[in-house]
Amino acid sequence: MWEATFILAIQQIASGLIIGAMYALMSIGMMLILGIMTVINMAHGEFYMLGGYFCYFVMTKLGVSYLAALPLSMAITAGVGIVCEKATVRPLVGRPWYSSFLTTFGLSMILRDTAQIIWGVDPLEILSPFSHKRVVIGPVFLTQHRVFVFLAGVVVIGLLYLFIKKHKVGMAMRAMVRDREASALMGINLNAMNSFTFALGAGTAALAGGLLGAIFNVLPSMGELPLVKGFAVVIMGGMGNVQGILFSGLILGVAESLAASFISLGLSDAIAFAILIIILLFKPAGLFGKRI
């Protein structure tokens, strides 16, 4: 009995880590957009949704393999992200931060309902080549696809970390978090950087959508929960801190899937926010937080 509980717990931790990696992937983009542009991107969940749909259609319409469809759908969604930034965020320079919250909120309504009109409300299933093969690690059973999702998430976040730390553009991004005016004086093109940040955020969200679309399904309203979870992770991780986001995402994923099997399935979604509030009460700068 005790042993069975233990094995269940380990199994839940494993699947929590996988979901957690995806939460982290969602939140990275939201954190960058929030930190660099001071924009709460309410349409981020819709980029996640578009990623899933584009992945599905690139695979079924063009007959491309899953591994090639993922970067393609990332690129298309990044393009959509650039257009959206130009239309809804660019005109608001110098306005209070809630202005862009509202325009991206409107954008999210438009994108979601457009998707619903074009593609209908029926869930679509992305077929991953790894879906039906099993991986056994000790007492834990997983599909190959879930392992792939976890690895892809962690690798992409690691690459982003290196990019932001080492690359010239990443350094410019960090400079913009510190001081927009000063970085403009140093010759950083703010508009181009904003477009790039949005494209990066949309692309990573699309990757999460394409990866998770093969585990769950693709449907127009799929972005809502990842969006709110994403905000929880951003606050938990503390701003301007890529590794913090990864760890917070993983912690949240594990806490949720443990809560789902040991407390209540329905309330597991509320766990994120309960954790969030506890952290805010005791460590307002986030778990890993130096706040910029």
Binding site: I40, M42, I110, F273, A274
Partner: protein, 327 residues
């Protein structure tokens, strides 16, 4: 409140129009929309207190509307409270929830305050949808009794049709508006605005930002919750859908369209953005797309809102009059 003659005439004219409006629009459907517009005005008024006057963008406010609706219906259904008691209970409990949620959230500022209130709104949603024993979960609460006041059977008014309910909600909305108008002329009201303009500076002249913001937040929760209570006893059905995201953006856009931090703004904005989705109902499939587009356009091109424009116009007129006098 001493007011200039012209303002007095304008106000009485506006109130007269509001009183006569349901006689111009006599169909049950249009009267229903009129009542809904007034009910959502409470949501906008509440948000206007914390966001418009005090400058703290709270994204949880629409959840307090749903919470108020649930509190009021549960008081009526489980405890058999009469409507008046439900309303008072909703006000007290909304203030209580406002305190519990405001205490951790108001430690933070700006965006972080906003996101925290959003998190609380989500928690409330999950609790309400999962606590099936109390709230019947996603099935919602049905059979909420209509609003009525009175003692026994002989002295009893029941607001059982659209017209009666319109006057009930109108009276409450006007009361709330006049209360707010008065409040904004007191020390406390000016403290709200001082914090919006500059929190550090206001702290330096002896205003305690945390507690003043707390009062504004609790007040906002009470006004919004009151709207929820009116909603529950009018529609007679509440479900967790009232908590949905859509309402957060809509409430904000009501406040902005009306004019941020103006007394009458929320009434105007609330009316416009209750009627507009109904107009777009003719093209049901595209409704959210149209509302979303209008939202974006208003924020980009019309951020002062209607009352904000009126204030600007009045300022400009005063300026030119002054210049003419000096010349």
């Amino acid at each position: 409140m001493i007011m200039p003659r012209r303002k007095f005439l304008l106000l009485s004219g506006l109130i007269l129009i509001l009183i006569l409006l349901p006689w111009v629009l006599q169909a049950t459907y249009t009267r229903h929309i009129l009542v809904m517009a007034l009910i959502y005005t409470f949501s906008a008024m509440g948000l206007n207190v914390i966001f418009g006057f005090t400058g703290q963008a709270a994204f949880g406010q629409p959840a307090f509307f749903a919470l108020g609706a649930y509190i009021s219906s549960l008081l009526a259904l489980k405890l058999g409270f009469p409507f008046g008691m439900c309303l008072v209970g909703t006000l007290v409990l909304s203030a209580g929830f406002g305190f519990l949620i405001g205490y951790p959230s108001l430690q933070l500022r700006g965006i972080y305050f906003g996101i925290t209130t959003m998190a609380f709104a989500q928690i409330l949603y999950y609790i309400v949808s999962n606590w099936v024993d109390l709230t019947r979960g996603p099935m919602g609460l049905v059979g909420i009794p209509p609003a009525g006041f009175g003692y026994g059977d002989s002295f009893r008014i029941v607001f059982d049709n659209e017209l009666k309910y319109y006057y009930l909600v109108l009276a409450a909305a006007l009361l709330a508006l006049f209360f707010l108008a008065r409040l904004m002329e007191t020390r406390l009201g000016r403290a709200f605005v001082a914090i919006r303009e500059n929190q550090e500076l206001s702290a330096s002249i002896g205003i305690h930002p945390f507690w003043v913001k707390m009062i504004a937040f609790m007040l906002a929760c009470m006004i919004t919750g009151m709207g929820g209570s009116f909603y529950a006893h009018f529609v007679k059905f509440v479900s967790p859908i009232e908590f949905q995201w859509y309402n957060i953006g809509l409430t904000f856009i009501m406040v902005i369209t009306g004019g941020i931090g103006t007394i009458w703004g929320p009434l105007i904005g609330g009316a416009i953005f209750t009627v507009l989705p109904e107009v777009f109902r003719a093209v049901e499939t595209y409704r959210n797309i149209l509302v979303g587009a209008v939202l974006i356009l208003i924020v980009i091109f019309f951020p002062e809102g209607i009352m904000g424009k009126v204030v600007q116009w009045r300022e400009r007129r005063r300026q030119t009059a002054l210049e003419r006098k000096n010349a």
